[in-house]
Amino acid sequence: MNFQAVGAIYTFEMARFFRTLKQSFLSPVLSTTLYFVVFGTAIGSRMEAVDGVEYGAFIVPGLIMLSVMTQSISNASFGIYFPKFIGTIYELLSAPVNFLEIVVGYVGAAATKSLFIGLVILGTAYLFVDLDIQHPIAMVCFLVLTCLSFSLLGFIIGIWAGNFEQLNLVPMLVVTPLVFLGGSFYSITMLPPIWQTVTMFNPVVYLISGFRWAFFGQADVAIGVSLGAISLFTLACLAFIWWIFKTGWRIRS
């Protein structure tokens, strides 16, 4: 393992994050505050508790997941797409590194950034609602696994994308709807039975459900199934990236 290379990629990518720290920090704080003002205070005060959890608190896991998933994808996809766009990818392709080292460097940095944002949102949420996390270790595990798996997905999107439009296409047209319809702001049991079945095909449901279980001890889907789903998703992304580097798809002529 070329640890020097992993460290170099990770440090270089994190430097991009630190250069825009104010934006990285303020943007999630502001958007979370707006969500709490609108859904937590204005609308939430008129809503019943969901499964015994006050609505303002109920949306916290979904809100964190929403940001973490979109941020993971955008950070990781931009991280690998930008070298392709400006041409510095030549250095990566001619370096003594294998696919795993490249992935650990880029995806590790992207996941670190979204983990930071997830924790900032959690901290902001404490300012608005009372939270008592029932399974803190499981919560951290779910958060880290989500950051990793969606950063892997973002990395694939960044390699696939041929221009900036394509870079934004998948997060905008696929991921955001899946996250919104994946139970971020409601419990699946609130849906009509037919939609409850349909929604089970949405992989994000399993992640949000598992994450919510870590907070409140209640889940739409069994915790084991959630954990299995996220692990499967992570492995599928890793296998695809291994294939990309083996074949040189979209990166090596």
Partner: protein
């Protein structure tokens, strides 16, 4: 000297069917500077990219220091530095961080003193904390060289390093290349500037249409293929070449004041003595006589034109 880079029967065909390299064979000796000359689209960059691992080869074998570039890619790539043709740098990062990144990426531990030394050699030290985007084009090109040298490579590929660089900076770069050669670095240089190859290369390889047309010691090449020209300035302008001199294939200047005779320096009879005698016999008075050896450029243009025919 042993071959540090050995390219054997290498072919490269792109997905669209374009054959960029056709059975290329090339042995690069350790410690030499070899210039790859060729017109646009000749296959120079493809050859370099293939050796460096950016492009995969369709068939053939490439060894660096006796190791295969695929199976021993870690050891091979750690030995190689590459300066690409296009300026490709992270614009928002500082010079020193860009160079540190390159060193780390190639598996070398931090060494601030060494990196500072490189930046000093390339006259970049006072810009080490400047963002790359604030640098001039010439400086950015030097940052690319600094990045390529950051991991102390034994083999350095320079893909048109002085394209778009002013004359002064070009000379600076030639000095840098000369210093690297003294340190034992093997340098493979592609260039459009034939004077560059003439100034710094030990050997010349001419490539065209994906094929190596020639590899030869630079001085031997010029001597072997070089032709000389003799220019004779006349006292009185002439309207045509006199009939007595028709056998010499002379060129008369447009103003009629000079005759040029081209001859092969390697031939047994250059014909100079006879020409000078016949000039006198034809009643032409000479004001001045100059000789000029053909440059590498003439040889290169001749070779490529011949290949294209």
């Amino acid at each position: 000297m042993a071959a540090i880079v050995s390219v054997q029967n290498v072919r490269k065909t792109y997905a669209d069917g374009f054959e960029a390299l056709k059975n290329v064979n090339l042995e690069i000796k350790e410690g030499e500077i070899i210039a790859l000359l060729g017109p646009n689209g000749a296959g120079k960059t493809t050859l370099i990219s293939t050796i460096c691992g950016i492009s995969s080869l369709t068939s053939g074998k490439i060894n660096v220091d006796g190791m295969d570039i695929s199976s021993d890619y870690r050891k091979v790539r750690a030995m190689i530095g590459l300066v690409p043709q296009e300026i490709a740098l992270e614009p928002f990062e500082t010079v020193i961080n860009s160079v540190k990144f390159s060193r780390g990426l190639f598996g070398k531990k931090k060494n601030t003193a060494y990196l500072d030394e490189i930046l000093k050699t390339l006259s970049l030290f006072d810009k080490k904390n400047a963002k790359v985007m604030t640098l001039s084009g010439g400086m950015k090109r030097r940052v690319l060289i600094a990045k390529a040298l950051a991991h102390e490579p034994r083999v350095l590929f320079l893909d048109e390093p002085t394209a778009g660089v002013d004359v002064e900076l070009r000379k600076d770069m030639w000095n840098t290349v000369a210093k690297l050669k003294k340190q034992g670095v093997t340098i493979i240089l592609t260039t459009h500037y034939i004077e560059e190859a003439e100034a710094i290369a030990d050997r010349i390889a001419v490539i065209n249409g994906g094929e190596i047309l020639l590899i030869e010691d630079k001085d031997a090449l010029i001597a072997r293929m070089g032709k000389k020209k003799i220019r004779i300035d006349l006292v009185d302008p002439s309207t045509e070449v006199p009939a007595q001199l028709a056998s010499y294939d002379l060129d008369l200047a447009a103003d009629g004041k000079a005759l040029t005779y081209t001859y092969d320096i390697n031939s047994e009879r250059t014909g100079i003595t006879g020409l000078l005698n016949d000039l006198q016999a034809a009643g032409l008075q000479m004001r001045d006589v100059q000789t000029q050896q053909s440059s590498l450029e003439d040889i290169f243009v001749g070779l490529v034109q011949e290949d294209t025919k």
